[in-house]
């Protein structure tokens, strides 16, 4: 039961982006298209699960005073290993996901969940948390990327949606950096309204 709770926690209640405001840098940078959002989401989810697993496994061996540097080394090492192995044995996958890997190292969701969850919970729960947070992160990215790609390019997942008339004069700002901030603030505001409404009813 508690496993299920840890799993679903990251999807909405503690959504890493919309609720915890973690991992903003890749979130803003990579959401220019739904395809990129899915790629980054998949890569980050994988690393999140593995780093939660490792940190939880060693949580009793690492002295708490140096835990953060240890986590950073563990995560960076793991990500680099994945990068090298993928590049050598799965070149096709590396070609599509490779650009996201350096961005994952600095993704603070991963360090945040290592510090905030995995170092205090058993391995199984940490893995469940990793899966949930990964799904939540991916979903959040797809939401923002949907708006940005639709408005900025007139397409969704590279499929033509708004027609060529729009594509010739798209709302370019949506796909550029300022558009990410503007749209993010709208989405964040929307979730805040939902939250306060709920709070008011209770």
């Amino acid at each position: 039961m508690s496993l299920m709770k840890d799993l679903t926690n990251g999807i909405y209640k503690e959504n890493p982006v919309f609720k915890l405001a973690l991992g903003m840098c890749p979130f803003l940078a990579v959401t220019t298209s739904v395809e990129n959002a899915l790629g980054m989401g998949a890569a980050a989810t994988f690393v999140l699960i593995a780093s939660n697993f490792l940190v939880s496994l060693f949580r009793n061996l690492i002295p708490s005073k140096v835990r953060i540097p240890c986590y950073i080394v563990i995560i960076a090492t793991f990500v680099t290993l994945v990068d090298m192995v993928m590049h050598a044995y799965l070149p096709a996958l590396h070609k599509s996901l490779g650009i996201f890997i350096p961005l994952i190292v600095v993704n603070c969701i991963i360090l945040g969940r290592a510090e905030g969850f995995a170092n205090r919970h058993p391995v199984l729960n940490s893995v469940a948390d990793g899966i949930g947070m990964g799904i939540g992160f991916t979903m959040a990215m797809v939401v923002l990327a949907t708006f940005r790609e639709l408005l900025g390019n007139g397409t969704w997942l590279n499929m033509d949606v708004l027609g060529s008339a729009f594509q010739n004069q798209p709302l370019l700002i949506a796909i550029l950096a300022p558009g990410a901030f503007i749209l993010l603030s709208f989405i964040m505001g929307f979730f805040k309204i939902l939250e306060t409404r709920k709070g008011g009813c209770q």
Partner: protein, 211 residues
């Protein structure tokens, strides 16, 4: 004091394990990665050369760099030009070269096939790590690099710089890098006399004799 030493030791141990794991995996994967990249380069070369003549039996031969007088001081990488011919005929039908340029966040490598008259016949982005969703769209041929086809060194210029090529919206730096690096390569080859018909004919004879 003792505790500090202990913490230091733990950190050292963690770093040591990480370093050993990384170097072990790196020694296994690095040669494989190199092979992959070489293969990719070969494939791109064949693909680019197919724009000259769609024939599977095209052959390549690197021109030694000494042939080119220009030292290419502006670029980290030497210009490597490969001549393309269709065996058994050894007369060249064009060249393939890689243009290097510093883009927005990476060095962009563009593989370019040119005809003997110095006009571009095909382009492929070989390597880039530009911003995903923006500059990285340079790999989509229709966004920019297809427009280079048919141009010679002088015509290869962005609209903003006085030419006729539209930059990709929001990615002027990436676009300019690719266009300028291709132009630089074409001009260097032109200066080295690779495109002049007389020289091509001359070399054809001498090569035909020696091979």
């Amino acid at each position: 004091m003792i505790e500090m030493l202990k913490l230091g030791l733990v950190l050292m141990l963690v770093a040591l394990i990480a370093a050993v794991a990384l170097s072990l995996v790196n020694s296994r994967t690095a040669p494989l990665i190199e092979i992959q990249q070489e293969l990719e380069k070969q494939n791109a070369m064949s693909e680019a050369a197919a724009s000259l003549m769609p024939d599977d039996s095209l052959a390549f031969d690197s021109l030694s760099i000494d042939n080119l007088e220009n030292p290419y001081a502006s670029c980290d990488e030497l210009l490597q030009v490969v001549k393309v011919f269709l065996p058994p005929d050894t007369s060249r039908i064009g060249y393939v070269f890689i243009a290097y340029g510093k883009g927005y966040s990476s060095t962009i490598q563009t593989m370019v096939a040119t005809r003997m008259d110095g006009r571009v016949s095909g382009t492929i982005i070989l390597n880039q790590q530009e911003t995903p969703g923006l500059g990285a769209n340079i790999v989509k041929p229709s966004r920019l690099i297809d427009h280079l086809i048919g141009m010679n060194g002088q015509e290869c210029l962005l609209k903003k710089d006085g030419g006729t090529i539209d930059a990709m919206t929001g990615c002027t730096i990436t676009s300019r890098t690719v266009v300028n690096s291709v132009r630089q390569g074409l001009e260097d080859m032109n200066e080295a006399g690779l495109f002049s018909d007389e020289i091509a004919v001359d070399e054809e004879h001498t090569e035909g004799g020696s091979e």
